[in-house]
């Protein structure tokens, strides 16, 4: 009657690879979106958002 719940069942071991894999993929995706944000928002000296920033950098250097 007493069904024992063991901490790790074979099921956990078998699914470990896909759980870890999915976790890694999600973390990479977060990094990707963060990187895209950095790459696309405002620090490109050739676009209208980046121009004031680039000018500011230049002034700071002087």
């Amino acid at each position: 009657m007493a069904t024992e719940i063991r901490a790790t069942h074979a099921l956990h071991t078998r699914r470990l690879s896909r759980n870890i894999g999915l976790g890694v993929v999600l973390i990479l995706f977060v990094g990707l979106v963060y990187g895209l944000t950095i790459a696309k928002v405002g620090t490109d000296p050739t676009d209208e958002l980046g121009a004031p920033w680039a000018a500011g950098q230049e002034r700071a250097a002087q």
């Binding site: 069942h9 074979a10 099921l11 896909r18 999915l22 990707l32 990187g35 895209l36 696309k40």
Partner: protein, 310 residues
């Protein structure tokens, strides 16, 4: 029987099985040609955005692979080459492959659009539609020209890479498409001439079976000549140059020589040396595509030194 044994019978797919649904080996060709398209395009792209674009194109290619395996699970189960794929092997449910394919299609198209522009996103969406609906669902089981159509789907990546940078379609990107497109038939049909395949048992029409090996030899020669015209034409555009053209002339002459040899042979000749000419031609075809795209990269990387291009 306890509850746990029921769970034990339920086979779970590992991460690798889902990854295998994305056809990683096909992906390598997609990544390489898309990368060349992206790097030779005029202008330039933020390196990180470019890296993301290549990744999303690769994921889109993987999505079409998963959808292809969902639809073709019945054929795959009947062929030795494909019987170990995740669905026929019983590791992944067909519905899971369908779900993964659709999810990754939406993901890759939207992310490519957000990271670059709508032209690149639309081209990727069209490529997946073309490969899954036009090729896999419609033409693959219906016409022996299926290889030609499938080759078109595989030829789109350099156009997508180009569009990711320029937001446009140009003669250069269309010719890069045409290069892989015209290359696929001689590449696959030469393989079909020396590999015993079980496409026939699976009910997939292959030119060697439906129209015979003689017709296949004629087709190889025809496409190889067309391919040479495309390859040399590409050399005259803004992304070509003397170095590309010199290499292209030599490689295409060699490729045509091989095609003529295949065309002149009878099956008896072919059996006699266990398809030596066909094998050599197939092996060379792999090098052919790699070197052509590689030379476009060389021309591009010579430009800073005042050497590349015309």
């Amino acid at each position: 029987m306890t509850d746990t044994t029921i769970l034990d019978q339920d086979r779970d797919a590992g991460f690798g099985d889902y990854f295998a649904l994305l056809k990683p080996r096909v992906m390598s060709l997609v990544v390489f040609t898309a990368l060349v398209g992206l790097l030779v395009a005029p202008g330039g792209i933020n390196p990180f955005v470019g890296l993301c674009a290549i990744l999303f194109i690769a994921v889109g290619g993987g999505a079409s692979g998963a959808l292809n395996m969902w639809w073709d699970a019945d054929i795959d189960a009947r062929m030795k080459r494909t019987v170990k794929r995740p669905i026929p092997a019983g590791k992944v449910e067909p519905g899971e492959a369908l779900g993964l394919g659709i999810a990754l299609t939406g993901f890759s198209v939207i992310m490519l659009f957000l990271a670059t522009n709508w032209v690149a996103g639309a081209l990727l969406a069209f490529t997946i539609f073309f490969y899954v609906v036009i090729y896999t669902m419609w033409l693959k089981r219906w016409t022996p020209q299926n290889i030609v159509i499938g080759g078109a789907a595989g030829a789109f990546p350099p156009m997508i890479g180009w569009a990711a940078v320029t937001g446009d379609i140009a003669i250069e990107s269309v010719l890069m498409f045409a290069l892989t497109f015209a290359w696929t038939p001689p590449h696959f049909w030469s393989l079909a001439l020396f590999v015993k395949s079980d496409y026939k048992d699976a009910g997939v029409p292959m030119l060697t079976v439906t129209h015979g090996r003689r017709v296949t030899r004629n087709h190889i020669l025809g496409y190889t000549v067309a391919l040479a015209a495309v390859a040399l034409g590409l050399g005259l555009t803004s992304i070509g140059g003397p170095a590309y053209l010199a290499v292209a002339v030599v490689m295409n002459l060699w490729f045509i020589k091989g095609a003529v040899e295949i065309w002149r042979r009878t099956d008896a000749d072919s059996e006699a040396d266990s398809h030596l000419a066909e094998r050599k031609f197939f092996k060379f075809s792999l090098l052919y595509l790699f070197v052509h795209f590689g030379m476009l990269l060389v021309e591009r990387s010579l430009i800073p030194f005042g050497l590349g291009g015309w």
